[in-house]
Amino acid sequence: MSDGLAGALAPRPEPRWATPARGAALPLLLLAAWQAWATTQPDITRAPSPVQVAATFVRLTASGDLPVSLLQSLGRVLGGFAAALVLGIVLGIAMGTSRTVRAAVEPIVESFRPVAPMAVLPIAILWFGTGTPAALSIVGYAAFFPLLLNTVHGVSQVDRTLLQAARTMGVPRLRILRKVVLPASLPSILLGARLALGVAWTAIIAAELAVGAKSGGGGSGGIGAMMFVFYAYSIDLNGIVACMIVIGLVALAIDRLFRGLERRLTPWRH
């Protein structure tokens, strides 16, 4: 088997670690280069290095500052997201099933949609102060649009013959909504929810940074506010980079978790 032409053409088996090792080579090289650059700089707070970032991360985790801030930010994201979820789905179904509702609501939605969440922040702060309610309203505002638009899209894309089939089986209207319209648009709604969580997480960091600036670094909390403290008070870029990495990893984790949830909730699509 192993000799002759067949042996020559067969792909050579690789050890199990070969692929991950090759994937990790470039990032490790870059990290080394970054560390080398940082050690040539005089001020370690202005020139963050991998070692210092890691040390800061460990310190912040051990002191509980980072976990507490992270949980606070995550809590706000979930709170704002939950509100947007309910509102977006309910209004989305109403708009997707009723032409009258859609015609009435769509112009309003479309005129607010280009207004970035950060542009709403001044109003939120003036109305709700610098605490959690302001953060929640920004997050909710940001998460609302992807949820609404994807729900409307999903509901209006429901296969007409499925609705007709249900009607010919004598299924009452409300039950058709629950048993046909909702499951048929679930993939779209879940896509909207995943996008919404993504923008909600982006928005909360920006909102906490901005609220931190307004409140002078105190009070509001969250990982964004923590970054603001590193920026304005302790002036330590190592802390900021540590936060940035944590924020990125959390965003990735949220996305992965949600994709898993999507697979679980829509098993017929896989």
Partner: protein, 275 residues
């Protein structure tokens, strides 16, 4: 006009016409007009005609999914006012719910619609089970529609239709998407399920749309031939072939004659339709 005292047919269409108005241009087009037809209980009717002649339009109106622009449709002498589970529909693309398994699709009407009224949970389960077996899908109950072959999907749709226990079976080109061999097998199976071997009183009333003339002759008691522009009933051809029918009947001279006669009625239009 029928004589007083005669009982109503199972299904009657009287001067049925349907016009559609295009949403933007507001142009009205007459899809079907002047359709008169009486179908007796236990009869198997096939509707054939070139595509676009209004076969689906007629079926949707019988199902109550669409209202005639003029004329009336009656079931047992009562005008149709909307959809109802007394008339079961099998759609051309099967209309299976992609998020439900085979078993859940078959039981959908029984669990969510009027066919399940008055049935206990156990009775519903038994009836679903019975219909899974009727179409030989035991073992595939937990599969989703996308995991099934075309022939299996068609069986699920048929089982769902029958599990709901309708008096009238409305089928819109249900075998259209299948390969020729599967089609022939399912035609025979369909006749068995419809009740070909039972006395007429025990049979369902069936309205079956097809564009396949031989399929129509094989299945039907009468073939309704429609023509286009606008859709009308061109002729109603009684099929005097003995039941139960099997594959051999296709080779008989009478089968050929009937097919030829129907083809003669729609040949010119069928050529027009592809020109």
């Amino acid at each position: 006009m029928e004589a007083p005292g005669t009982t109503d047919p199972k299904l009657r269409l009287k001067g049925v016409a349907k016009a559609f108005t295009a949403p933007r241009t507001l142009k009205r087009t007459l899809a079907v007009t002047g359709v008169d037809l009486a179908v007796e209980a236990g009869e198997f009717i096939c509707i054939v005609g070139p595509s676009g002649c209004g076969k689906s339009t007629v079926m949707n109106m019988i199902a109550g999914l669409d209202m005639p622009s003029s004329g009336t449709i009656e079931i047992n002498g009562v005008p149709v006012a909307g959809p109802g589970a007394d008339r079961g529909v099998m759609f051309q693309d099967y209309a299976l719910f992609p998020w439900l398994t085979v078993e859940e699709n078959i039981g959908f009407g029984l669990r969510n619609g009027t066919p399940g009224n008055g049935l206990s949970r156990g009775e519903v389960e038994a009836r679903v089970r019975e219909h899974v077996e009727l179409v030989q899908l035991a073992g595939s109950e937990t599969k989703y529609p996308h995991q099934l072959s075309g022939g299996m999907r068609q069986r699920v749709a048929l089982a769902r239709l029958l599990a709901n226990g309708p008096d009238v079976l409305l089928m819109d080109e249900p075998l259209g998407a299948l390969d020729a061999q599967t089609r022939l097998i399912l035609q025979t199976e369909l006749l068995r399920i419809w009740g070909e071997t039972a006395p007429q009183a025990a049979r369902k009333t069936a309205v079956f749309i097809t564009h396949d003339i031989e399929e129509a002759v094989f299945l039907a008691d009468r073939v309704v031939v429609m023509s286009r522009h606008p859709g009308r009933v061109r002729a109603v051809i009684p099929v005097d072939l003995a039941r139960p029918r099997d594959e051999h009947i296709r080779a008989t001279p009478r089968f050929g004659q009937l097919s030829e006669e129907i083809w003669g009625l729609i040949r010119a239009e069928a050529y027009e339709a592809i020109a």
